[in-house]
Symmetry: C2
Amino acid sequence: MSKPTPLSGYPEFLPAERAVEREVVSRLSRTFELHGFTNIETRAVEPLDRLSKGGEIDKELYVLRRLHADDQAGDSGLGLHFDLTVPFARYVLEHAGRLEFPFRRYQVQPAWRGERPQEGRYRQFTQMDIDIVGKDELPFHHDVEVVRVMVEALGSLPLPRLSFQVNNRKLIQGFYRGLGIPDVPAAIRAIDKLDKQPADAVAQLLVDTAGATPEQAERCLALATIRVADTSFVESVRALGVEDELLDAGLAELAAVVEGCAAVVDDHVTVEANLRIARGLDYYTGTVVEIFMEGYERLKSVGGGGRYDALATDGRTTYPGVGVSFGVSRTLVPLVADGVLRGSRPVSSAVLVALADEDSRTSAQDLADRLRRRGIATEVAAAPQKFGRQIRYAERRGIPYVWFPQEDGTHQVKDIRSGDQVDADPDAWTPPAEDLQQTIVTQSSS
Amino acid sequence: MSKPTPLSGYPEFLPAERAVEREVVSRLSRTFELHGFTNIETRAVEPLDRLSKGGEIDKELYVLRRLHADDQAGDSGLGLHFDLTVPFARYVLEHAGRLEFPFRRYQVQPAWRGERPQEGRYRQFTQMDIDIVGKDELPFHHDVEVVRVMVEALGSLPLPRLSFQVNNRKLIQGFYRGLGIPDVPAAIRAIDKLDKQPADAVAQLLVDTAGATPEQAERCLALATIRVADTSFVESVRALGVEDELLDAGLAELAAVVEGCAAVVDDHVTVEANLRIARGLDYYTGTVVEIFMEGYERLKSVGGGGRYDALATDGRTTYPGVGVSFGVSRTLVPLVADGVLRGSRPVSSAVLVALADEDSRTSAQDLADRLRRRGIATEVAAAPQKFGRQIRYAERRGIPYVWFPQEDGTHQVKDIRSGDQVDADPDAWTPPAEDLQQTIVTQSSS
């Protein structure tokens, strides 16, 4: 075998980098569990008819084919999932009789898309989703809850500043309807282009594609520029003079989300009403949210989600849901590459037990087991080299402490960073908490 | 969408079952980390030329094809990995310059094989592997170490009794060579059939395919029947009267593995020298091990591994390794289906906060947050139904405690299994440890 070259679009972490990802997933999982979200995993494949929607995403689907299948094409009729929502919807339908609703779950798994690789966009990427799904109905307060839980969860991580930008599809649709726009979906599509095109081009699009008058287009743009971190947007929208029941409902819901998150936002994570957020033409029917990271606006959103009144349906029963997804790979691959986050060390071991000679390996192992029983990750030196070389061995591996059993039965432990060497009792000594396990080091803390 | 039907070969766990798998993976991970194994994840795909070996396994390979690719075939040249060893070997080669050797890692990921689904054999299955890999050389003591760590790790789980059956390729090969068998690989293949064919048929095979005399075949069979839980096999082999240097080396290594594990075996996990274990014609060059589970012999081994003197090579450098793999899905899917293991509950929540009316949702959430801050997973009732219905709601969800804020500002908590309801301080009350998190319930303990 020759030396392999990296595969574009399939980023892989070195051990210390993987420790960052593990810690992020572990902290988020803990918060989700404390809020009653249980973990599930779905298989990586779904039947093609569930994945294929005939749209743009179809081009990115990976289909599985058996290498030496008997039939001509060999296609299995299965494809790799491209998000965690499609498999979750299928899981809910398939297992509905054995689930209790509202069903609260989180999921951390890879997904696959055959798109052109670029920063933040990979062919295999890990997502972390929380959703609450009801049977036939799902109270609105769960919209507030999922956004709030994700704010709290991401706020506990050492990431650059995050901004949750929230809107409501009822608000937009009600506004357009109350305004008398002939083609509401076309208007949503046009406004969605505001991040790529100047305002007057979008106004022209509204006239050309949505049948708006120039005056209506003006008011659509006025709506889209409203962006505040409190509920004052309600008055600003009222001031635009549009009356509609759906608009009223949307305003009330959006205000409730912004108010409901007030207790968990801080300098580090903010929640804003941003009335141009639409999240494309997906299945969202109420709350919509996108998450942006300061200094990484080029990644577009690092997460998002919303309310869908029909996450899944089997014809008889409909399952409404609300959820938010966080792009683990999309966020961490760039942050790790930029050195914003790094792992404290590439190994789990906090201690290396030095070896005087090969005959003392058994007693060194017994000693290591004493440390392990108290939760201290320990390895024994691979070879009984001179102690200086064993210390350099620990240094290269990133192990902070070297343990020296003494001939008289006592013990010493050396912090190889400071060089301090002290007497230590193997049944009592413990490293400082920050050295106990691999952890995340941020640019500012290093 | 219609109601989906299960996909054969792709088992999925319900939430309480998934809790079993999570706990197993978490306990094993903890043990591996305490022994200095660090976690990595590799991408799910590898270039086909690394996966395809031209053998039986090729039939089981899944190739990725883009659904609407521009080129005619659409094949990406990539396939899903069928184990964790091939991607690990590639990872070591690709990142060798940035790894420290001996490199100790564990990996928990799914793998895919397009084989005929049956109990214990799935098209997608999760494996958990530990390996230690050296650069150019890897001391033998690591063979003892990986087997011992896996014995300790699996021994900490509430599984049926496990038997680690260990052998050594040097021992077999040296014995056959010393005996004068003309075709050693053919002899290994023949002996490998002992679990499917009677001894005299295998003796005939040894004569027909390996060129053995009937007397040599007899002694090969005699070797293969040796199976003991201590090092007395050394004398038994010596009694067969074969002399060979490689045999000597194999006997010494196997004795060291059996002795080295003596401190961690017990009634629940045993380690035996079993001289007919060969693990097929794979790349193993020394220690080989297979793991069997009592009452589940029909699954064949639930794990295995061994020593390979060339896990990977880039032509200039060779990376020897030793590792053991545990079949998470192969073991847990049958145990969960049989009710041997089950999750204590399907939700993470230990407490449901009851709601007197919808207006008290905010104060109920604040209360829930007080419990969560002390590590108690809590959810708030979805709707302010009559308390009797809220208790039944908790019961259906499997939440053991319901919390009732009282009108006078005090609190009560009810264990809905016993019906006991007591006064409780939200800043002090804690459920018993076994109720704090989802955990594993065994048949005997339930």
